[in-house]
């Protein structure tokens, strides 16, 4: 009869665990993406950073800090701050990423592409203005893909894994036009792609730094944190309609406040 008991106990344990494992199938992702030109600083010192994959990305976890000459970035347990608190140094540009709801195996892509124009010499010797539209895959862009690669089963034991795919394409230089001294030739696009997995503890910020990953000298600093929410995108123990950003550190509220409804397609925010 001990075999019966063991079987019943095992089945009961598996069935009792099912709702727990299936409960967390969506998380809220807060992300801040800062872009800067490394040439604006004489030196960059990272402390508390560890390599992330085989590419240029490095992961920063609490306690960590980056020193950009006289400017500093400090990653705390539940927040981060710059040299003067929430004041972003002028060398940095924030890419406004709205709060995202991240489902398992439902990637979310944040894309900021720009068109670029150039001159091209025609056969008759004249110059013609050409453009690489922003919709073209060859246009300069910053594209970050967020994905939860693992099911709730694994995430329940090892933190919430967020897979970040970085796709950066920038103008590294321009082709020279014979007889034209201006730097207006066809742009040569430098690209970098890296994907890395970040195991996030809920409500704690993690940072990923990409220092000059391509010839353009552009660097990225991505901050992410995940919050557990229910299927409707509401935080636990909160009444419907509660603004999710109410949990955020006030100094971090740079993006839109409302979480967009999770559905496929393309969205545009400004």
């Amino acid at each position: 009869m001990t075999g019966y008991v063991k079987s019943i106990l095992l089945l009961s344990f598996s069935l009792a665990l099912l709702p727990v494992l299936c409960a967390e199938n969506v998380v809220k992702l807060d992300a801040r993406l800062f872009v800067y030109r490394t040439g604006d600083f004489a030196s960059v010192h990272l402390s508390g950073a560890s390599p992330l994959g085989s590419g240029p990305a490095r992961l920063l976890r609490y306690p960590a800090a980056i020193q950009f000459d006289s400017e500093s970035f400090t990653l705390g347990r539940m927040g981060f701050e710059w040299t003067h608190g929430d004041v972003l140094p002028p060398q940095f540009t924030l890419v406004p990423i709205p709060p995202l709801l991240l489902h398992v195996s439902k990637p979310v892509v944040v894309d900021s592409s720009v068109p670029v124009q150039y001159l091209e010499r025609q056969e008759d010797g004249t110059l013609k203005v050409r453009e690489i539209p922003s919709e073209s895959p060859e246009s300069p862009h910053i594209r970050v893909t967020f994905r939860r690669p693992y099911s709730e089963y694994i995430d329940a034991f090892s933190g919430i894994t967020v897979r970040c795919g970085f796709d950066l394409a920038t103008v590294a230089k321009r082709e020279t036009l014979p007889g034209v001294s201006l730097d207006v030739g066809k742009p040569v696009i430098a690209t970098v792609n890296q994907t890395c997995d970040i195991s996030c503890q809920p409500e704690a910020w993690s940072a990923v730094s990409l220092l000059s990953p391509n010839e353009n000298g552009l660097s990225l600093l991505l901050l992410i944190r995940v919050l557990r929410v229910d299927d409707r995108g509401w935080l636990p123990d909160r009444s419907p309609g509660t603004n999710l950003d109410g949990l955020n550190n006030p100094i971090l509220n740079n993006g839109p406040a409302n979480i967009p409804a999770p559905s496929s397609g393309s969205r545009r925010s400004k």
């Binding site: 009869m1 075999g3 019966y4 063991k6 079987s7 095992l10 344990f13 598996s14 099912l18 494992l21 299936c22 800067y36 030109r37 490394t38 040439g39 604006d40 600083f41 004489a42 030196s43 010192h45 990272l46 402390s47 950073a49 560890s50 390599p51 540009t93 890419v95 990423i97 489902h103 195996s105 439902k106 990637p107 979310v108 892509v109 944040v110 894309d111 900021s112 592409s113 720009v114 670029v116 300069p140 910053i142 089963y153 920038t170 103008v171 590294a172 230089k173 742009p187 220092l211 000059s212 010839e215 000298g217 552009l218 999770p262 496929s264 393309s266 969205r267 545009r268 925010s269 400004k270």
Partner: protein, 111 residues
């Protein structure tokens, strides 16, 4: 002669026992079915139930760990209009003054 020596002298020495040899012989010669009682139907059922339970649990775990269906893979795309500063960063080639490699200093911290 102390008490311990006296105790040892009183102990019987081990001697070969014919009766014990016969008993061991008969035990070893007996067929296995007679040595152990036949496995009862209930215990066999319990073992099979345990195996089935473990199989179900493993199946549930694999189901939870397996990636979702392909139709869920269509990404949600947010197109963010680049600010003028970001546009400049993306389009402008690296400045000539910053052509020197930047001296990065990285102090790694192993978890």
């Amino acid at each position: 002669m102390d008490e311990f020596e006296h105790y040892l002298r009183k102990r019987h020495l081990a001697v070969p026992s014919v009766r014990l040899d016969r008993r061991i012989e008969s035990t070893l010669a007996a067929p296995p079915a007679q040595m152990q009682p036949a496995a009862s139907f209930s215990s066999a059922l319990a073992r099979w139930s345990l195996g089935a339970g473990m199989g179900i649990a493993a199946g549930v775990a694999l189901l939870l760990m397996s990636p979702r269906k392909a139709e869920n893979e269509e990404p949600i795309v947010y197109r963010i209009e680049a600010s003028s500063q970001l546009r400049k960063l993306l389009i402008s080639p690296r400045s000539r003054t910053a052509s020197q490699p930047l001296p990065f200093v990285v102090r790694s911290q192993n978890p």
